[in-house]
């Protein structure tokens, strides 16, 4: 079990970031600074650019303009090694549950089997360790993807709607895992459009609308009184276009 630590990757500074596809601007001149530990939740309607922003700060996509700095260092593969991303649709390898974790742990050397069993236990998947990973239910697959991400011992954990279309028991387990991870000092950036989940988890909220960040505030203040009409409409459950 990794000891409690505070990530040295913060602050995350994003400046003048834009991303376009075929003349359509999907991210429009984004400025963002994330320097507090805990869980930052990126919220917004479908197509707001949440997942895109997450991929870009993780270095999987390159922005057309703008800069991304983690603790003053421009985004590079060495920084990505210290982060992990859980995708909305988990990408599991055609192997057993245990082998999916081993794939990440083995190169790290040491007593990886013990660590793998620990991770599977935390995710509630120990009894399924020898099953083919791709035969797990949607919720179990996502828990395995999260356990694999945690196996890399990331300083920053990024999650792209991890609980979209999974059962509520799995959602609860994932949220508990995220709480524990947060307690260990891992910075979490979570994309969701589940307002309930954001209320339960967020320390601060980044609200996006049509490729722009409209608000970035502590969670309590955002949920009490969003400053943008779009944020208010979103929280009220009205359709925001």
């Amino acid at each position: 079990m990794p000891s409690a630590k505070t990530t040295s990757l913060l602050p995350l500074e994003v400046s003048s970031l834009s991303y376009r596809v075929d003349q359509e601007t999907l991210l429009d001149n984004i400025d963002l600074s994330v320097d507090s530990p805990g869980i930052s939740v990126i919220m917004g309607a479908n197509g707001a650019g949440k997942s895109l922003l997450l991929r870009i700060v993780h270095g999987l996509l390159e922005a057309h303009s703008g800069a991304i700095y983690w603790h003053g260092v421009a985004m590079a593969e060495t920084l990505r090694r210290r982060q992990a991303l859980v995708f909305q649709k988990p990408v599991l390898m055609r192997r057993s549950v245990a082998a999916n974790i081993d794939f990440v742990l083995r190169p790290m050397g040491g007593q990886y089997r013990q660590r793998r069993d620990e991770l599977l236990h935390q995710a509630g998947l120990q009894h399924k360790r020898n099953q083919p990973a791709r035969l797990l239910s949607g919720g179990e697959q996502q828990k395995l993807a999260l356990a694999r991400a945690l196996a890399t011992e990331p300083e920053v954990l990024l999650l792209d709607e991890p609980c979209a279309s999974i059962d509520s028991a799995s959602t609860l387990q994932i949220e508990n895992l995220l709480h524990d991870t947060r307690q260990r000092g891992v910075k979490i950036i979570l994309v969701t459009h589940d307002i309930g989940q954001a209320r339960r988890l967020a320390d601060d909220v980044i609200f996006m609308h049509r490729g722009r960040i409209l608000e970035h505030r502590p969670a309590a203040s955002f949920f009490d009184s969003p400053s943008s009409p779009e944020g208010q409409a979103y929280l009220d459950g009205r359709i925001v276009v």
């Binding site: 990505r80 992990a84 390898m93 055609r94 791709r134």
Partner: protein, 235 residues
């Protein structure tokens, strides 16, 4: 017509009686073609994985070339290997002409492009699915390649089977570099060609049956393996 039924009867008795000559030919055929497929897989799988994973200028051209080489005419391969291995050729000093090794070399050349091109297609599809996750995990290219080969192992088995089908059934290359020498380089296809031309239909037919049964059983084995892999979501 009577000749035909007689030939069938003789063929059955040769097979059921475990005829020694027939057995020798079958064993040599399997030894040559399986060795060639094994060698071709050792070259073709990594080559397929490499072209599936790496993006470099000319990658498309290599893919087209690999696909084109799938249709290599066996006699042309046989001729080229013959020239290389003959006394005056660059590899003449190895004294391999008219040996099973020469046949293995020729079939390896014939089968490698098939295995490389088909495995590239299999692994390219899988790579598309894994790519973002692997880049997120910062997996080095070599590990990506071995992971793709391992995770597509059941599909690659079918690819190897396609190569085996090509090798075991071809006659043009082995007859040129092997010479169809009795008890030395005679395999099923060359024997069928020879025995048919001699009018000895019984042996030719027996060999033909064995060839068919072999093809059917290998296909059935791989099919059932693939089916169980699919059931377990490994394929």
């Amino acid at each position: 017509m009577q000749d035909f039924s007689e030939a069938f009867g003789l063929a059955a008795s040769l097979i059921l009686g475990f005829d020694a000559d027939l057995g020798e030919i079958i064993v040599l055929s399997l030894r040559v073609s399986l060795s060639a497929v094994l060698l071709a897989a050792l070259i073709g799988f990594p080559l397929g994985a490499l072209t599936a994973v790496l993006s470099f200028p000319g990658r498309q051209a290599i893919a087209v070339l690999m696909n084109a080489l799938m249709g290599l005419p066996p006699v042309v391969v046989g001729l080229l290997v013959y020239m290389a291995l003959s006394r005056a050729g660059p590899l003449g000093w190895m004294n391999l002409l008219y040996t099973p090794m020469a046949m293995i070399i020729a079939q390896t050349i014939l089968v490698t492009p098939i295995i490389a091109a088909l495995s590239r297609q299999v692994m390219e599809d899988m790579h598309r699915e894994y790519d973002e996750q692997f880049r997120s995990l910062c997996i080095p290219t070599r590990r990506v390649m071995t992971a793709l080969i391992w995770d597509s192992r059941y599909s690659l088995l079918t690819v190897a089977l396609a190569g085996f089908g090509r090798a075991i059934a071809e006659v043009g290359a082995v007859i040129i570099v092997g010479g169809n020498i009795d008890h030395l380089t005679r395999v099923m296809t060359t024997a069928i060609a020879l025995e048919t031309s001699k009018g000895n239909l019984a042996l030719a037919l027996a060999l033909g049956f064995v060839l068919l049964i072999l093809a059917l059983s290998v296909n059935a084995a791989v099919y059932s393996l693939r089916a169980s892999a699919k059931r377990l979501s490994y394929a």
